[in-house]
Amino acid sequence: MSGQMSQESDNEYSDDHIEDDEDEYDNYYYDNNDDLDLDKPKKSDDPEYFEFDLLKVEDVERLLNEEVEALCTSLKITPSLAKMLLHAHGWQRSLIIERHQRDPEKFLVDSRIVADKKNISQDNIMGLTHTCPICVQQLSKDEFQALSCQHLFCNECWDMHFNIQINQGLTTGIECMGKDCKLLVPEDFICGILKDTSMREKYFKFSFTDLIKSHSQLRFCPGPNCSIVVQAKEPKAKRVECNMCKSTFCFRCGIDYHAPTDCDTIKKWLMKCADDSETANYISANTKDCPKCHVCIEKNGGCNHMQCSKCKSDFCWMCLGEWKTHGSEYYECSRFKENPNIANESVHVQAREALKKYLFYYERWENHAKSLTLEEQTFKNISTRIQEKVMNNEGTWIAWQYLLKAADLLKKCRYSLQYTYPYAYYLDRGGRKELFEYQQAQLEAEVENLSWKVERAEISDTGELENLMDIAEKRRLTLLKDFLEV
């Protein structure tokens, strides 16, 4: 695989992608028409491009109400029923209307909204009074209510039931009290019975959360105390940034953004890391010995390219190999060499090998995570350095801004790089894994080059640094384009 493209080619695709050209042309045309802002990422060449809106609670309420009303008009049902149907069927209005048209009775029974004829209780009120089967009080018949299943209970017992369920966090899932009855209780029935207004407020608060969780196009911002709701037309595993609390996360699963790894894999990986935290603890140290003179060296920046303060030898923090070799053979540092004969080894050897493999990937994952926090420090150091330089008349403040930009890009690249390790860990051996690891190694090399340079750049290095930034970002995008599932 070669990174070289012919000068004439106006996009990054090689000849075997020629069938895409028409699409590319369309997108190109569309983009040019639509957004004139050249800095904005374009749909066609940014694998992380994602359209979303950030909504306030009032906006979401309005949005949900509109959807409820639309369904009410189509099916001629009450808002309370419409809400239940939308919640039960992931707010897919057209699907609900279609199934309702096919067989309305069966659809409502299947959705647990109307009782199945054979499950209707024969427990009718004969006289003027009736005994409640729960509190065994004999009460006047207008003290009793039932859903379509005709399971009669007194208002007081219903009220008690709703209180207990709501306090356990249940709202849209509250069922009838009848034995083995799974009928769902609609909102208007519950609110007609709840005596306590604070309980009613609690019900609405919890059910609003429930409704949003059941809506595939909406997601709460996971940021602490943030009430923003993200809306996206397509529920994809893409990066979302909240402009209120500044948290970034994956739209599909709501945890930290994790490209190129997919939602299920990252969950599996994070669970594994939590389970094996003891085993992995020993590698979390921030110091290592210089491989040449054995003096203890502390890592205090994000860069993996270390230089011993005593013997001045250059080495790699991850593998302790000579740094010189990393230019051409970074591959050997980021790739785990599996024993090709492992299937024939004993259980013990296999277990040891599995642990070795996990620790290999974990160490690299953890190292980038740590480097990212150290990069924050680097960012502060750069700011102070710029101030000093400007004071000494070495370039203007504006001229130095490129360095902050570079530090920002470095963080972005390192972040993606961190999330390549869970991906590689779960990837099966074969050509695809080799290609992935090749691109991962390329990105590793560029990130370390950039990292080394950012910590040391002078004003005269602008051109070189911009060049490094360009290469690093290209490597990152190439990897995501090839491996990020869209």
């Binding site: 509190c135 009080q137 207990i164 009290m177 083995d180």
Partner: protein, 164 residues
């Protein structure tokens, strides 16, 4: 004092006396209607046959909106019974309905002796033997059936005192 829970427990007791289900019995303790003693007789054609297993049932004022705490006092060897005697049974947890009464609880536990649910094991050894080595399972159960007679004798005085 007559609270809804107490009123309901009186009704449950009345119903248990008037219409007693086969193989179970239960009654409030003398000084507290919120705590019951109960006995389940091992069902026929099960390894538990002839056993007399004692249980305690503790209610809260939230009964019947919340299920009581039920626990075997006699030693038990069953896939869904924990070492401390508490029972893993859906109707005593998430599938509880306020329409269940003491009679329904006891008969549900009785049928659990019939049909253990090896998918939610509370006692791993019992669950494993039930699945893989039925003969050994039955041997272990036979031992606790014998033991259930012994603690009958131990508590005889106590029981007579309660019944008077």
């Amino acid at each position: 004092m007559s609270t809804p829970a107490r009123r309901r427990l009186m009704r449950d007791f009345k119903r248990l006396q008037e219409d007693p289900p086969a193989g179970v019995s239960g009654a409030p303790t003398d000084n507290n209607i919120m705590v019951w003693n109960a006995v389940i007789f091992g069902p026929h054609d099960t390894p538990f046959e002839d056993g007399t297993f004692k249980l305690t049932i503790e209610f809260t004022e939230e009964y019947p909106n919340k299920p009581p705490t039920v626990r075997f006092v006699s030693k038990m060897f069953h896939p869904n019974v924990y070492a401390d005697g508490s029972i893993c049974l859906d109707i005593l947890q998430n599938r509880w309905s306020p329409t269940y009464d003491v009679s329904a609880i006891l008969t549900s536990i009785q049928s659990l002796l019939h049909d253990p649910n090896p998918n939610s094991p509370a006692n791993n050894e019992a669950a494993q033997l039930y699945r893989e080595n039925r003969r050994e399972y039955e041997k272990k159960v036979a031992a606790i059936v014998q033991e259930s007679w012994n603690d009958d004798e131990d508590d005889d005085d106590e029981e007579e005192g309660e019944k008077s």
